[in-house]
């Protein structure tokens, strides 16, 4: 951390953001701001490095090790920069029943990187993650902040093609049950007669 003075502090020109985040919490609970501050850095820089950790520690009057202790507890803060498109494959039960393992293998083949890696151009990162709360629309692929649900092989291919052209498609809203609107979720009479999700 001796290189600190050479890096421009992240929050130097963002006092309004710091004030807004600290202002959310009571004065006796300022330490709560550690997670939102980490989020803020990561959103802008796609990772949180040692210098930023030290900076957050100074703002909150904590030791840098404490901040790092919090950060390392969670799986969505990164110490190394992730690519422009951070592909997060849900690998847990329902998604695995819907082919998430094959989707992961497909992405490994296509991108030439494995879990936790970023490609040479910094375009793609691949990560296996745990349940994303999208079990009814499995398998799910989270790209940066966006959920892509019911990702079939052809959709996955399409997604990769658009990302290689530096764009992201609008997420299709796949839903089932009452989450498509109550009136559409009426009972079916004959078991197993209908197909599809929507």
């Amino acid at each position: 951390m001796t290189e600190l003075p050479t890096i421009k502090p992240f929050f130097a020109d963002k006092q309004d953001i710091v004030d807004e985040i600290l202002g959310r919490y009571p004065e006796y609970g300022q330490r709560s701001a550690v997670m939102p501050l980490l989020w803020e850095v990561q959103r802008a820089e796609r990772h949180v490095n040692e210098a930023r950790i030290a900076e957050i520690a100074t703002i909150l009057d904590m030791h840098p090790t404490e901040v790092k202790g919090v950060m390392s507890f969670y799986s969505t803060y990164h110490e190394q920069p992730v690519g422009k498109y951070h592909l997060q494959v849900c690998a847990t039960l329902s998604c695995s029943l819907a082919g998430a393992d094959e989707m992961y293998d497909y992405l490994v083949d296509e991108l030439g990187i494995v879990n936790g890696e970023t490609d040479r151009e910094g375009r793609f990162s691949l990560q296996k993650v745990e349940c994303l709360g999208s079990c009814g629309t499995a398998p799910v692929l989270q790209v940066n902040h966006t959920y892509y649900e019911c990702v079939t092989r052809s959709r996955c291919k399409h997604l990769l093609e658009t990302m290689r052209a530096d764009t992201l498609p609008e997420p299709w809203r796949e839903r089932g049950g009452d989450n498509v609107g109550v009136e559409k979720a009426q009972p079916v009479k004959s078991p197993g007669a209908e197909g599809g999700n929507t």
């Binding site: 709560s32 847990t92 329902s94 079990c135 989270q142 902040h145 989450n179």
Partner: protein, 447 residues
């Protein structure tokens, strides 16, 4: 299907009942349902107004107690009783903390409320806050729910601008505001004491109880923690009355609940049904039946013991007691239907890996058992290197892990393993004896 309703002929225990009406998910899935305008057009904030202007805080607690609402996050503790544990106001800040860290595999009900109907949660928090004289509400929302976070934050902003949050709401003299806090991907933060630590900017390890959160919770101040759906249920209890809520369900499980179906069914999704409806009704009548031969199902999220896909279990009512009688738990109501051709050992390996990844490492049984040795054993089996005695070793480990962990995570990881061995021992034995799975199919991805 009707044996559960014998003693209470009038209770609604099926969604086919003409008297049943969807409430929690009434507006989910509708465009712009997340806006304040839409919410106000649909009786929005009327329940909060009723509570704040015509009821005393104790009346609200009693109403929720009378309704029979039990916690919807999994443990099933009576919500009204929990609310009454808050000490008398003593000048300290009090908090109502909403657990929106939904991360149990198989559960996805809260996500759609946060995304499509965030005002419902805001209103529920107001009511809960008023009932317990807590002037600050906190929503801990899991970090991956970006859309839900954005919608909730803007809902709170709109509500504040319109005077539904802030000082002296509805002229009642009650002040209330909400803090939204994002998690960052840790299953254990759904455990209430770990959640408080995480909120306070500490590592998300569970805390010792006692002291219970009502005595010393967030920042050491009185706190009550409820699941998103428990809090939104309170809106409808106040709106329609405790009797309405108690008119649904069985003796020990009242009201309406969100069930989630995923896995091999034709119409996966969230379905709101009265408590006491059967798995058969959910899976066949609403989810359209299994999309291929099924052999088992998980009744309430990955930590509840799985059950065989047979009429005996499918006819069980989905209530706390009804499922307990069959040796499992209601949990979050997240049903996962497991296809016949899926190797169950492989399925459990996925589950074991999940709990290993999410162990916080605080206590030895969980760190060494759940997070280290159990996945090693399962990996060995799945790789086809299993030996005679391995299954007994797994059972032995499970028995020594259960009940020894600091929090319930270790137990929750072992219950499904026990059940899978109980019902599908043959698959384990086949794999150990032959080195290959009885069901070797590996292609599940749709084109």
């Amino acid at each position: 299907m009707s044996d559960a309703v014998a003693d209470k002929p009038q209770a609604i225990t099926s969604r086919h009942d003409a008297r049943y009406k969807v409430t929690l998910y009434e507006h989910v899935g509708i465009d712009n349902a997340w806006t304040l305008d839409y919410y106000l057009e649909h009786e929005g904030y009327q329940a909060a107004k009723k509570a704040l202007t015509t009821m005393q805080p104790d009346d609200v607690v009693n109403e929720v107690k009378k309704s029979g609402l039990r916690g919807r996050g999994g443990a099933g503790f009576p919500t009204g009783v929990k609310w009454s544990f808050m000490p008398k106001p003593d000048g300290r800040q009090r908090f109502i903390l909403c657990n929106g860290d939904e991360s149990e595999p198989g559960s996805f009900k809260d996500r759609y409320i946060l995304e499509d109907d965030p005002h419902q949660l805001v209103e529920g928090l107001m009511i809960a806050g008023y009932a317990m004289s807590a002037t600050i509400g906190i929503v801990y929302i899991r970090g991956e729910y970006h859309l839900g976070y954005d919608r909730l934050v803007s809902a709170i902003k709109d509500a504040r601008a319109a005077g539904y949050l802030g000082k002296d709401i509805f002229g009642s003299g009650f002040d209330f505001d909400i803090i939204v806090h994002r998690g960052a991907g840790a299953y254990i933060c759904g455990e209430e004491t770990a959640l408080m630590n995480s909120f306070e900017g500490l590592r998300g390890n569970p805390r010792m109880k006692p002291p219970f959160p009502a005595q010393a919770g967030v920042y050491g101040r009185p706190t009550t923690i409820n699941n998103v759906t428990s809090i939104t249920s309170a809106v409808h209890i106040i709106k329609h009355g405790a009797e309405w809520f108690a008119s649904m369900g069985t003796d020990d499980s009242k009201g309406t609940k969100l069930y989630q179906v995923s896995g091999c069914v034709n119409r996966p999704g969230v379905y709101e049904m009265p408590m006491g409806a059967t798995f058969g009704e959910l899976i066949y009548d609403f989810a359209g039946g299994p999309s291929e031969d099924a052999k088992a199902f998980i009744p309430g999220g990955s930590s509840t013991p799985l059950m065989p896909f047979t009429d005996e279990y499918l006819s069980a009512p989905m209530s706390y007691d009804g499922i307990a009688k069959k040796g499992s738990m209601l949990g979050t109501g997240g049903v996962i239907v497991i296809p016949k051709e899926k190797c169950l050992v492989n399925f459990m390996w996925n589950c074991v890996r999940f709990y290993a990844h999410e162990s916080c490492g605080k206590c030895t049984p969980c760190r060494e058992g759940v997070a280290t040795w159990m996945p090693k054993m399962f990996q060995k089996l799945v790789m086809g290197r299993g030996e005679p005695g391995d299954l007994e070793l797994i059972e032995n480990m499970s028995n020594n892990i259960k009940g020894t962990g600091f929090c319930v995570h270790a137990d929750a990881a072992m219950w499904p393993i026990d059940a899978s061995i109980k019902y599908f021992r043959d698959e384990y034995e086949y794999l150990i004896a032959n080195g290959v799975s009885k069901y070797p199919r590996t292609t599940w991805w749709k084109d």
